[in-house]
């Protein structure tokens, strides 16, 4: 049996009252290489949607064989260096003389986003009934793995109270990453569901779990953009979901057909 990570749904919505084009969450899905990435552009930074897009679109170049402790830090630094070079190219394409003073001023402090990237790989026999699942994260975009009807893994945040106003960020300026890089490694089996979310939906998910509820059932019921809009609207309205840019990638691990 060959397992694959199959996309079930992906979608994103801006904060209430904002245009879809103003949503600063971005994600990228490469089913061929089984890589999925999500980034949440920082509200306080300028052009953070562009930086988030550069990060997720560059994740396909991340060498997932090196996503192991001791190797991943160097690999991440090198990958981030390439992302920053892409940002500098983009910045160079701006007509800076035509920018208002505040845009020039804010550009000097760069941009920022949270980031999570996950990669699945087949394992050789006798473990061919499993997929390796490796992830890197900076900040509070989340990964959840659900088996049958229980939450088996959550990464990098495992408690709703750990979401705060100042998550770690990947920056365009050359700040050192330090200890902020989080690394995850596990295996996934047939039938498991994997969810990637930005912080608002991640916090909502964990809060429901902590109350003994089963939020994955609500996520599993989402298969179209209107389903997702409805889910987000209902939970924003009852204040269980923070009114923030909100993104979801839902993946199912199943045998290749």
């Amino acid at each position: 049996m060959t397992l694959v990570a199959t996309l079930k749904f992906s979608g994103k919505l801006p904060k209430g009252g904002y245009l879809p084009s103003e949503c600063e969450d971005h994600f990228a899905i490469d089913e061929d290489s089984s890589k999925f990435a999500m980034a949440d552009g920082a509200t306080e930074a300028s052009y953070s949607g562009i930086w988030a897009r550069i990060l997720v679109e560059s994740f396909r170049e991340f060498d997932s064989s090196l996503m192991i402790p001791g190797e991943v830090e160097t690999q991440f630094d090198s990958w981030l260096g390439r992302c920053r070079a892409t940002w500098i190219d983009w910045e160079g394409s701006l007509n800076k003389d035509g920018l208002p003073w505040f845009a020039s001023e804010k550009l000097l402090s760069g941009s920022a986003a949270t980031f999570i990237g996950v990669s699945f790989e087949s394992l050789p026999s006798p473990a061919s009934d499993q997929l390796s699942c490796k992830a890197v994260a900076l900040g509070d975009s989340c990964l959840f793995i659900v088996r049958d009807n229980w939450l088996r893994e959550c990464f990098p945040i495992d408690n709703a109270s750990n979401f705060g106003p100042t998550p770690a960020l990947v920056r365009t300026l050359s700040y050192p990453i330090g200890d902020n890089l989080q690394v995850f490694s596990s295996v996934a089996i047939d039938g498991e569901r994997v969810y990637l979310t930005t912080d608002a939906l991640g916090k909502w998910f964990l809060e429901l779990c902590e109350r003994g509820e089963e939020p994955w059932k609500l996520l599993d019921s989402v298969s179209t953009p209107p389903d997702f809009e409805n889910l987000v609207e209902v939970h924003r309205a009852n204040r269980s979901l923070r009114d923030d840019d909100t993104s979801l990638i839902a993946i199912e691990i199943k045998a290749e057909t």
């Binding site: 209430g16 009252g17 052009y47 020039s104 001023e105 106003p165 050359s174």
Partner: protein, 280 residues
């Protein structure tokens, strides 16, 4: 919980600065790195820097998100709106109007980190909206009455917003009576998310040690200082967090008050005092 509402374009917040422009503001700060400059000149620089900071907080690329409405009221020879140029005469303006309407842009240089432990000089354009004035008496009561009218009107149309922040900056005592009753009225008006925040900053002409964000009046030197302390609001949670992160010792009783502030403390006080709830 009060002061928890996020600031958004739908629910912006408001900053109103009431600034002493009396004759004594022509004196220098007690301690100033830049000799020969008056408190009025240094304060104008601090206010312009603050407006620049507020605008850049709201900047998203080439756009400005309307998170704040801002006003500056001066009092001295006259009492009234103190912004200049095309914003002259306006009591409150949106942050995008501030952004797009400085009186002028001055070319300046500053030292910034080079990312490798050193400093490099960086040229930038400093926007100017507000020029120094120092003339006549200190009609504090009348100025605060004017502020109350502005904030009453704003609050009535922004019931769901993060409460306004009123920052009063002076270097001396009122010459038109005791402002306590007017301040009580201002602070009595409560929005859904909490009462209006009233902060006071006293500027020093002496070399006395600044007292910033105190939690009691025990160390304050005189009746005037104690009056300003009593009038000042406790720090709301977001400002408390900002003050803590800047190294101030903060308790539940800490008030939005600074006494004998020099230029450095003035800039820090204004920066911390305006770090209100999260922007959405």
């Amino acid at each position: 919980m009060s002061y928890a509402v996020e600031i958004s374009r739908t629910n912006p917040s408001c900053f109103l600065f009431v600034i002493d422009q009396s004759a004594s503001m022509a004196d220098p700060f007690g301690v100033s790195e830049r000799a020969g400059r008056s408190k009025a000149q240094e304060l104008a620089d601090a206010i312009n820097k603050l407006l620049q900071t507020l605008v850049t907080r709201c900047a998203k690329g080439e756009e400005i998100r309307e998170y704040f409405e801002v006003g500056v009221i001066g009092y001295g020879h006259t009492i009234g709106p103190a912004l200049k140029g095309s914003l002259a005469g306006r009591e409150l303006v949106s942050i995008s109007e501030i952004a797009f309407n400085p009186v002028r842009l001055e070319d300046r240089a500053r030292k910034v980190s080079d990312g490798a432990g050193g400093l490099v000089e960086q040229n930038f354009q400093m926007p100017i909206w507000f020029d120094p004035v120092s003339n006549d008496g200190t009609p504090m009561c009348e100025a605060l009455r004017r502020a109350r009218t502005v904030l009453d009107s704003w609050s009535a149309t922004h019931a769901m917003s993060y409460p306004p922040t009123l920052v009063h900056i002076t270097d001396g005592e009122s010459t038109d009576g005791d402002p306590s009753e007017i301040v009580r009225e201002i602070k009595f008006f409560s929005m859904q998310d909490g009462p209006i925040c009233f902060f006071n900053l006293h500027l020093s002409s002496t070399q006395a040690k600044p007292i910033v964000f105190p939690d009691s009046s025990a160390d304050l030197p005189d009746q005037f200082a104690r009056l300003l302390f009593e009038m000042s609001s406790p720090l709301p949670p977001p400002v408390r967090m900002a003050a803590q992160s800047e190294g101030y010792k903060i308790t539940e009783g800490t008030r939005g008050f600074g006494f004998n502030a020099d230029l450095v403390e003035t800039i820090r006080f204004l920066d911390i005092g305006t770090r209100v709830s999260g922007l959405r």
